[in-house]
């Protein structure tokens, strides 16, 4: 086949089915039994372990690794789930290079941390594969009811902890599937085999949680309703809406938000049905940008450029993520911001202006360049779209105080957490921790 370099070349089926299968398989194949034992032996069982302190959910890492080493992966998994009920997903998606593994003393010693994430996956996968009974028992019912809005990591973690304490939980989720970004956002090669849904089903085994899908806060119900109907409310709606590029030409066909592109990709059973450009440009510098760029490449795009407006050091995606993109052939461009999108009936190219930073303020240098593109994916941030009524905001996200309690006229009734709450790190693991903290605070309040 001769490759045609025409603009507007956004199409599906660029690869063979074997190539699709290969490209969207596990990024890191799971450790086998032998590999897990070799790796577990590397852990020093540190005192007041730095890795554990670096884990947002404070998993007892030395303990669970020692359990693996001693031939008790089931016990290891329980140690993990005690602190992080989504330990299976976190093992797959945590940027460990900036969390536990960055703090590992073997990183200091040899530049080669213990592979904590992969060991965590080994333990949690082993537990789930053995189809053992759910590791936690629900306490006797308290008769108290809690509404959880959003079935993402924050909501799920909160619901599970509350159910464990014996409260009756109703999850209200706008989408048709639970999981939040685990289901719609995380890169496909990080959560293969429908893991997000399997994990939710597994989590629900605790009992006492009712999941209501297609229920949107702001249209189907209001915060006020929940406050009236339930003893407590948790809001974990994430940041569902993407900021759009606001440039000349940004309404041309071929321009879309990276999270919509990814959500479509995640939901497509057959990746060969997914259209992708011949030349793709991603604008942004976070995990979403990297994932959109890498997955465009995996779908068969010929060139993918990722353009970030600041320097490499400021890029929110970790060095590991940047290298991952580079290894997949993504062209990284720094210090440039989009100026306009060009094209007659569809995107043909995008013009960037170089930037300079003066005293932290970013300015255009006036110098421009053009990259030809038939698809432009914007990954420049998301915002919380939901109508959260009287809940106090801090900037564009929900304000919170101790125990993730929301500031509102309702008193100790509403808690918030995850991406929609102020000052978060926008990670799966921090969302899980937020949900857990809120649940404990709600429990203490209800028991109070």
């Amino acid at each position: 086949m001769t490759s045609t370099l025409e603009s507007g070349d956004v199409r599906a089926g660029r690869l063979s089915s074997a190539e699709y299968a290969e490209n969207f398989s596990d990024l890191h194949p799971p450790l086998d039994h032998h590999e897990a034992l070799v790796e577990a032996d590397r852990c020093y069982f540190c005192y007041d372990a730095p890795c554990m302190n670096a884990c947002p959910t404070s998993i007892d890492i030395p303990l669970f690794i020692r359990q693996i080493q001693a031939g008790n992966p089931v016990g290891a998994a329980k140690t993990i789930f005690e602190q992080n009920i989504l330990g299976g997903m976190c093992a797959r998606v945590c940027p460990t290079e900036t969390l536990c593994e960055e703090a590992c003393v073997r990183e200091t010693a040899e530049g080669k941390p213990v592979k904590i994430g992969e060991l965590q996956r080994h333990a949690t996968d082993t537990y789930m594969a053995r189809e053992l009974p759910h590791p936690f028992k629900r306490a006797a019912s308290t008769g108290r009811t809690v509404a959880v809005v959003g079935a993402g990591p924050a909501g799920l973690s909160c619901a599970h902890r509350l159910a464990m304490h014996g409260h009756d939980v109703v999850i209200l989720e706008a989408r048709q599937k639970p999981g939040g970004l685990n289901e719609y956002g995380i890169a496909a090669y990080k959560a293969t085999n429908d893991f997000a849904q399997r994990e939710v089903e597994w989590l629900m085994q605790i009992g006492g949680i009712e999941l209501r899908l297609g229920q949107r806060l702001g249209s189907d119900f209001e915060v006020e309703d929940l406050v009236n109907q339930y003893d407590a409310v948790f809001i974990g709606v994430g940041l569902p809406s993407a900021y759009a590029l606001d440039l000349p030409g940004s309404d041309l066909p071929g321009v879309e938000s990276a999270i919509d592109f990814i959500a479509r990709l995640r939901q497509a059973e057959d990746k060969s049905t997914l259209p992708v450009g011949q030349d793709v440009v991603v604008v942004g510098g976070g995990m979403t940008a990297v994932d959109a760029a890498v997955q465009s490449k995996l779908l068969g795009a010929r060139t993918v450029s990722l353009v970030y407006r600041r320097g490499r050091e400021q890029m929110p995606a970790s060095r590991y993520e940047q290298d991952l993109a580079a290894a997949h052939g993504v062209h990284l461009v720094f210090n440039a911001k989009p100026a306009r999108i060009n094209g007659a009936n569809a995107v043909e190219s995008i013009t960037f202006e170089y930037t300079a930073s003066e005293g932290g303020k970013l300015t255009g240098t006036g110098e421009t360049f053009e990259i030809s593109a038939d698809q432009v994916l914007a990954a420049i941030g998301q915002w919380m779209e939901a109508d959260t009524g009287e809940l106090e905001l801090d900037g564009t996200t929900l304000a919170r105080t101790d125990g993730n309690l929301s500031l509102s006229p309702y008193g100790r009734k509403v808690w918030v957490g995850g991406d929609c709450a102020h000052g978060g790190e926008d990670l799966t693991v921090t969302a899980v921790e937020d949900g857990k903290i809120a649940a404990e605070s709600i429990h203490a309040t209800l028991a109070g």
């Binding site: 540190c46 005192y47 007041d48 730095p50 200091t108």
Partner: protein, 437 residues
């Protein structure tokens, strides 16, 4: 360049590394491969009486314990002496010795504790051209139940008697291989010496149950659901072997008796330690069984390199140098005071030193200083025990620094004295008090 050649009881070998009597030396095929790889000598797998040979179990013979990454640390076996007939062994020994005249070949023997048995076998062994014999008084399983092996090795009178027979009816140098399965190794060594032994070799394996199968509740190795004790060897037994060698080396009755050191030798360093405690050769089994014969190359090269660095030309230049320094506890200098010191540049902040000292010793290591994770020894609490040094995963990160004379030990408030003073002179010692009164 150091010369590793050894002359042990007149038996010459190009280096002190011999293979111990065990599977690696069971037949011509293995022994010739060992010689090709560079081993200085072998002690042929123990021979039994003429007639139908012993039989081994047909299930598993070994069990083990492992360190990190499944590094084999201790091996346990329930194998017996050779299960091939005597004629075959003797024929092969003759052929091998002819082809390899410069290597040591020792015949290990275990026959019943009767004069006739020994009278019969000794001339036949001599006919092979073997350089010496080793009496296996050590095997702790299978043979001891038949009144041989460690059953003999545990009774000093028998050792002496059999040694005397071998000296009387045979012409070859006699090495008596001792069992460690005894409370005080000096007694069998003295008995061998009295019987006229030219040397002792030690240790044979230690009676052991290496593990229990928690599914079928059988000791391992499990033979159809049951197990028996076996003999333990490998790196884990080296400390026991070194102590026993030292006991014999410094015992007034056996001082100077040649020793072939055995037990856990895996590297040149292990060998050098045995030599420093007086051994003229070392014997190796488990290390060869773990890694194959090639490991001798590292042993030879490492020993040469050590000797070159130290300026020792022959093994005799440093053999036995550690013996005078082995003493009893009561003669250790109580005025020698050390403090642990952590090299902050090497420290990787794992905290193991802290928790070891905090939970199980003397609460002498910080974990946090001014709100920062920091491990430092508090001299006013440190008793100088060395535990932290041993648990630290980084070599040379913690060292024990002796205090200088005249300094004040912040723990006791006492001045460090120059004089040597031991427990026999200490005021808290009731015996010392009595003597003073």
């Amino acid at each position: 360049m150091a010369d590793l050649s050894t002359n042990f009881l007149g038996i010459k070998s190009p280096n002190p590394f011999w293979l111990a009597s065990a599977p690696p030396t069971d037949k011509a095929y293995n022994v010739e491969r060992a010689y090709e790889a560079g081993w200085g000598g072998v002690v042929w797998k123990t021979l039994g009486e003429a007639g139908p040979p012993v039989v081994n179990v047909n299930g598993p013979r070994y069990g083990a314990i492992w360190g990190p990454d499944r590094r084999l640390l201790g091996l346990n076996n329930i194998e017996l002496i050779t299960d091939r007939d005597l004629e075959t062994n003797l024929r092969e020994m003759t052929e091998v010795k002819k082809r390899w005249p410069d290597r040591a070949l020792i015949a290990s023997i275990m026959v019943p504790c009767e004069e006739k048995s020994w009278r019969d076998i000794l001339p036949r062994v001599e006919d092979t051209g073997a350089d010496g014999i080793e009496l296996n008084f050590g095997c702790p399983h299978g043979m001891s139940e038949r009144g041989m092996g460690s059953a003999v090795g545990q009774v000093p009178e028998y050792i002496q008697m059999v040694t005397e027979w071998c000296k009387e009816f045979g012409k070859l140098p006699v090495i008596v291989k001792l069992t460690p399965n005894i409370t005080d190794i000096r007694y069998p060594a003295r008995a061998a010496n009295k019987g006229g032994a030219d040397a002792v070799s030690l240790i044979n394996t230690i009676s052991s149950i290496v593990s229990v199968d928690l599914d079928n509740f059988s000791p391992n190795p499990s033979i159809d659901g049951r197990g028996s004790h076996g003999g333990y060897c490998g790196p884990a037994v080296k400390p026991i072997a070194l102590n026993m060698v030292a006991e014999i080396a410094r015992d007034p009755e056996t001082r100077g008796l040649p020793i072939s050191g055995i037990g856990g030798v895996s590297t040149w360093r292990d060998a050098a330690e045995f030599i420093a405690l007086g051994c003229g050769t070392v014997q190796v089994c488990t290390a060869a069984m773990t890694y194959g014969f090639k490991i001798v190359q590292e042993m030879i090269d490492g020993l040469e390199n050590y000797m070159d660095e130290k300026g020792y030309e022959t093994i005799e230049d440093f053999r036995g140098m550690a013996v005078p320094n082995v003493t009893d506890w009561q003669y250790l200098n109580l005025n020698y005071i050390t403090k642990a010191k952590i090299d902050q540049d090497l420290c990787i902040k794992c905290g193991r030193c802290h928790i070891a000292c905090e939970d199980t010793s003397h609460q002498a290591i910080t974990s946090m200083v001014d709100g920062v994770r920091h491990f430092e020894v508090m001299d006013d609490e440190c008793v100088g025990c060395n535990l932290c040094v041993n648990v630290c995963p980084v070599e040379n990160c913690i060292s024990m620094v002796p205090m200088a004379t005249g300094e004040t030990d912040p723990r006791t408030g006492k001045t460090v004295e120059a004089d040597y003073a031991n427990w026999t002179m200490h005021p808290n010692n009731p015996m010392a008090r009595e003597a003073a009164e």
